[in-house]
Homo-oligomer: 204 residues x 2
């Protein structure tokens, strides 16, 4: 079967064209590598479509994505300078959310996570971006800092054409239930098993 | 346990610094999404390190990666113009390998795949790149167009500091055996199941 071709005929009353332009909620979960990396790879595709990309990192150890951040921000500058691709914004909790002017000294992680989610809700309501990468978003949900039912309601009722990609281990089942695309990354073999530490260019 | 920290003490006589700079063979396999996307995400990290990136697509349907190709090639131009990041080359079998001047009319896929592998062997011997993405490389191996034992020998004996990332379903066990990092992407839920066709920005 050719890729991109489905033989299932859904009874949803939509044309193929309408279905082709349906926004998705994607979840990358599991204990293996590649959950976030694949999300940033999807951001490349969106950039090429000229879409607005918003990345929101829900972790404190912000150093771990510097490669992707630098590369995606470089693509954002390409867009600003040449009009090629789309705009890219990168916001990280670890250094204070960019839209909040409190700086990076806030120590209450739970409040920071809730603040990040509140901003994402505002942006979804305003249809600010076409692609939202909510990186390691599963953890603040797991820890009860963000209400999973609120996430489900917000995602299912979001207006317009907005893709949302959620990464992290142990995704809440309620979010999986409303997701369109769920992939589990499974570790088969990892260099840490043999005492290999993380290394630049590979882990960050 | 902090990420990047391992508590296993390997008995390989290497210092942590030496192990940290050990080149990896990574395999992204399984039937789920994200195998190639995560590989291109890794290319972002390598780009940010200033590494030379070589992408080699072993599939005919070259339209399926246009987003990543456009974005990575834009990053390659950023490098050429500003010195930021590293150089990126993108070669695809579907339109004739870039280094071969035969054009895109060659119909013998097996010969094309073998030609691509021969070029990769030359580049590994010459230490041309720091990161090699061999996209959907598992298929020509599975179909017998490229000899798995030759791949194993080439990978295990490659000189210098060169990371190799192999993507595709059904990776040959011999290659998995010599890989350092193997991740299986498993499909939990996919829009195709509900009759959703592939869409721009998501599938390509």
């Amino acid at each position: 079967m050719a890729r991109g071709v489905t033989h299932v005929q859904p009874e949803d009353g939509l044309t193929t064209r309408q279905r082709r332009h349906r926004p998705l909620v994607a979840v990358h979960t599991g204990v293996g590598k590649g959950k976030s990396t694949a999300a940033f790879g999807l951001a490349l595709r969106g950039w090429n479509q000229g879409w607005s990309i918003g990345v929101f990192q829900f972790v404190k150890s912000a150093k771990w994505r510097i490669g992707e951040q630098a590369a995606l921000e470089a693509l954002g500058r390409v867009h600003e300078e040449t009009g090629e691709g789309g705009p890219i914004e990168w916001h990280k909790m670890g250094s204070g959310w960019s839209w909040s002017r409190k700086g990076g000294t806030e120590e209450d992680h739970a409040a920071q996570a809730a603040e990040g989610w509140a901003e994402i809700k505002r942006r979804l309501a305003a249809e600010t971006h076409t692609v939202y990468v909510l990186d390691e978003f599963t953890y603040p949900v797991k820890w009860g800092w963000i209400d999973a039912d609120d996430v489900v309601t917000t995602l299912t009722e979001r207006p317009g054409y907005q893709h949302v990609i959620i990464t992290g281990r142990d995704c809440d089942q309620r979010i999986i239930d409303v997701a369109d695309l769920v992939t589990e990354m499974t570790k088969i073999k990892h260099p840490f098993d043999n005492g290999q530490p993380g290394q630049k260019g590979i882990e960050w």
